[in-house]
């Protein structure tokens, strides 16, 4: 079954078809969310929220739905909403995270994660949308509400920044 057929069946409420779409996209969305929020437990929650929201909303979408950018839009909004809550309430957890409350620590971050955390949040986001998500400039532009030409400039700067920071990380690490 083609992706378009799966989307069409999921739009008609076929759970099995939607589950196939989940299988096709959960790894990449999981990677994107993990890289974006830097916490595998939070990423897991956000992945659940993303797919549940998508399942709820897909029936309202039209025949021209481009499912990958759409899923990333939902995932990005979920990540931003989570992050915004952290910021707005000034690090007040709505639900104190179990791992933190129980005194456990997060897994060791890899070099990529450390570098991403040192970058401006919007640059890291842009970079992930191009690399992990493999969206094109116009899809990224639509998602971030910026022009494709701006995507091009900012993306290149973000790549250069990542490269420089990664080089430093390797030197010092």
């Amino acid at each position: 079954m083609t992706s378009a057929e799966l989307v069409s069946r999921a739009q008609a409420g076929e759970e099995h078809a939607f589950a196939q779409l989940v299988l096709s996209h959960e790894h990449e969305l999981g990677l994107f969310l993990y890289r974006r929020v830097n916490d595998p437990h939070v990423a897991e929650d956000l992945l659940q929220d993303t797919f549940l929201a998508a399942w709820k909303a897909i029936r309202k979408t039209g025949p021209d739905l481009r499912v990958r950018p759409w899923l990333y839009k939902i995932a990005l909004n979920a990540a931003r909403q989570w992050e915004r809550r952290q910021r707005i309430l000034r690090f007040v957890p709505f639900q104190p995270h179990q791992t933190t409350a129980q005194g456990e620590t997060l897994p060791d971050q890899d070099d990529v994660q450390r570098v991403l955390r040192k970058m401006r949040r919007e640059d890291a986001e842009l970079l992930l949308l191009k690399t992990a998500a493999e969206l094109n400039y116009s899809e990224i532009g639509a998602l971030l509400k910026i022009k494709p030409a701006t995507v091009r400039q900012r993306l290149h700067r973000a790549r250069e920044r990542f490269r420089a920071l990664y080089g430093n990380e390797k030197e010092t690490g």
């Binding site: 690090f91 007040v92 104190p96 620590t105 997060l106 994660q113 400039y137």
Partner: protein, 282 residues
Amino acid sequence: MNPQPCPAADILSAYMDGELEASEQSIVSSHVLGCGLCTAELRSLRAVDVLLRRSPDVALPRFDTSVLSRRQRLLPKPILVILIILALAAIAAGGTAIGLKVADILRTDKNVETQPAESFPSKSHEEMKEGSEAQTTPSGMEWEIWSVPEVEAALEAPLLQPTYLPEGYELVQRYAPLQLNAEILYLAADGTSISVRESNHKHGNVERPPVPPGAGEQVDIGGHLGIYIRGGWFQEEPEGLPVWDPDLVHSVVFDSGTLVVEIDAPVSIERDDLIAIAVSMK
């Protein structure tokens, strides 16, 4: 010798992404074939992408498709809010059995450490505020303002909005990103914000940890039962136990009958002013 000058760095990047016009793509391609510098640069840029596409050592999340068949993934969370309100009402009425039972919710979770924020040695409240304000308004931050009908369609209920706000606060955000609850944000020039979250009972998306004894107070919000909470949990990133700080934030939670509404505001706004915002929700 390569007749063409080396393309600008962002063009090379766009070339790698296949984002140039066909004619431009062809010109850059011919150049790169004969240019060691550009070939090396391309290789280096590709390495960046390879690193970012590679899976980390941690187990990546999976989605449990069995939840699709269930109506809701979790128990409706407004229950907690409503229980807190009931507890306060019962306690105010003289401590009935239900009041005593539910009063446990108001006690601090055993896994959570409470202490006055001022005894927290690592960072002062003021320092923390400065740090978070810088994050609240990063340059280039994209805010989304959905139309009221759009939000209401997602919320499946009429949206309530404040008709009164303290001076200087402007709408910057109004949306329902997960189609589960609505979020409205008002920002002032000093970076402080008032946040309104609304959740339809039938979706259930209100999450609130227990509050310590004495931090909650029953209030009347235009005839609806509400709770005023002075303080909030504070947690150092990325590890460490949360502590309750009575001067961090204050909030009002009330049940409109259809929606559970929660309004958070900085403590620079007076308690009565915050309650006035809640009362003005129409």
